[in-house]
């Protein structure tokens, strides 16, 4: 019997529009790829997901950032892959925390927003870094994510 792979999506402040679109996109492809997906975010993120995906087709398991961290530190929750979203200094702090706690797994940090290039320079942890100064247009960063994750090329 095979053990199901587990992925964690960590979302930052939801004020940059592309975050929600990319999170749903990632949830779809991760599940299609056989992952059980857990998504962590603050209460605003939870409300946005529940409003965007009321049928829970893309992101089914939601958890607050604190509960997610407690799950790893107190209950030894395990993941095989983590994708962190960061468009500000706080997002980098959360990503650094997740990387410290999940040191051995495949780790992808998506850095976006108007200051993406400058912000990416503050990352001191390892893993794949996808950087794109995207705010409204998800296509360029989506293409980079697809390339890194092997989620099929799209001409759209």
């Amino acid at each position: 019997m095979s053990v199901q792979k587990r992925a964690l999506i960590v979302l930052g402040c939801p004020e940059v529009p592309i975050q929600m679109a990319l999170a749903l996109f990632a949830g779809y492809y991760l599940e299609k790829g056989g992952y059980e997906v857990t998504t962590a975010g603050n209460p605003s993120v939870m409300k946005l997901i529940k409003t965007s995906d009321p049928g829970e087709h893309y992101l089914r398991r939601l958890v607050t950032l604190e509960k997610c961290i407690e799950g790893i530190t107190d209950r030894n929750d395990q993941y095989d892959l983590c994708i962190c979203f960061a468009h500000n200094d706080a997002g980098i702090s959360y990503a650094a925390t997740m990387r410290y706690l999940l040191a051995e797994i495949r780790f992808v940090t998506l850095v976006f927003g108007r200051n993406a290039e400058e912000l990416s320079g503050s990352i001191e942890f390892d893993g794949v870094k996808i950087v794109e100064p995207a705010v409204h247009n998800p296509i360029p960063i989506r293409r980079k994510l697809q390339e890194v994750m092997g989620w099929g090329a799209s001409k759209n």
């Binding site: 930052g12 402040c13 939801p14 004020e15 975010g41 603050n42 605003s44 993120v45 950032l65 604190e66 961290i69 407690e70 790893i72 530190t73 500000n88 200094d89 706080a90 997002g91 980098i92 702090s93 959360y94 650094a96 925390t97 410290y100 706690l101 503050s122 001191e124 942890f125």
Partner: protein, 97 residues
């Protein structure tokens, strides 16, 4: 958020980047301790790139508190028990520079 926001705290600084908050603590507090991300103080896991600096002055604990949409706050909470616990369990990183 968690338990910390239900406690009585003072905001020492806000709108800092995380590295600025670490520098502030290391420069301004008589005792500095380092803890790793996810370690709980006042019942909440602390967030930030390692190591996370905590200042202690008497019974006051000063630490960074990161909120996803509002950045890093430096909070100060007076609690002799938590100050003692940190002194006993965290790595002493020196006195103010």
């Amino acid at each position: 958020m968690g338990c910390i926001e239900e406690l009585t705290y003072d905001i020492i600084e806000k709108g800092l980047s995380f590295p600025e908050s670490r520098l502030f603590i290391e420069k301004n507090y008589s005792e500095v301790y380092h803890i790793m991300p996810g370690t709980k103080i006042f019942g909440d896991p602390l967030i930030g790139p390692p190591p996370i600096a905590i200042g202690i002055e008497g019974d006051r604990v000063v630490f960074p508190y990161v909120k996803p949409c509002h950045g890093t706050f430096l909070l100060s909470i007076e609690d002799p028990d938590e100050a003692l616990r940190i002194r006993k369990t965290a790595k002493f990183a020196g006195r103010k520079k």
